[in-house]
Amino acid sequence: MAMWLFLGSECLLFGGLISTYMLYRGRVTQGPRPSQVFDIPFTSVSSFVLLMSSLTMVLAVTSAQRKDNHRTKLWLMVTASLGATFVGGQVYEFTAFYNEGLGFTTNLFSSSFYTLTGFHGVHVTVGVIMLLSLRGIISKDKDTGDRPEVVELIGLYWHFVDIVWIIIFTLVYLIPA
């Protein structure tokens, strides 16, 4: 129940950030416009990677429910790797945008864009850390209480990060300002 309450409050956080971006994205007084910097094919691949990490997370949860520690660890590692790939892609994207003259304070669009996608990136990074920590705990066979439930709770957080990106990808990248 606490997890669902937390995810509900996270909806509000990202709702506020997405609202701010939607209101400010057309306000480009200086610097490049969104359509000039976005690399849709690259971001599409990143989106697909994050989407598939949701599948590997489900496979980790079902493995944990079957009490198959080996496969649970394997799928947790694959999920963390896909998450890390997504974050790496985001770092590359931010660097490319910055080199094209789009800094954090360049205009209202850039500030709201970096804040929204940056917050999401931090959430993915925290998720990757949780996945790797959980894998370590299972490897050392430390007691985590109801293990399948722990994997499932981290899975809920991971899927939430994915659904937020589903919205960001459409509203921020695919719909032109």
């Binding site: 709702g15 849709i40 079902t62 994915d162």
Partner: protein
């Protein structure tokens, strides 16, 4: 006997709304196909259907992940209430902010 029966029942319940691996893979393939369709709108001119197609795909993908991967469809009403209240409030915040910019800027 009773305790064993209860344990078995609880175990069954905890797995009842869990997806099988095959079903999860099928859902992921559908989500992947929908993502490809979304991306195609960037390269192909959908005309007047551009925005509706993107919005419908976004909502369907969102609800699919929430319903099946997060298995909210099979959860207690309270959990649904907590999550969708947060989502509803987020939408409310957006429309209030939009109205504020429209009428007071």
């Amino acid at each position: 006997m009773n305790a064993t029966a209860t344990d078995t029942h609880e175990q069954h319940d905890s797995h009842a709304h869990g997806l099988s691996d095959a079903t999860a893979i099928k859902i992921a393939l559908i989500l992947g196909t929908m993502t490809a369709l979304e991306v195609s709108t960037y390269f192909v001119d959908f005309g007047a259907f551009f925005m509706p197609v993107l919005m419908v795909l976004m909502v369907v993908k969102f609800l699919t992940v929430v319903s099946y991967f997060m298995h909210l469809k099979f959860e207690h009403q309270m959990f649904k209430f907590l999550f969708y209240t947060g989502l509803g409030l987020a939408l409310f915040v957006y429309f209030v902010a939009l109205a504020t910019f429209k009428f007071f800027s």
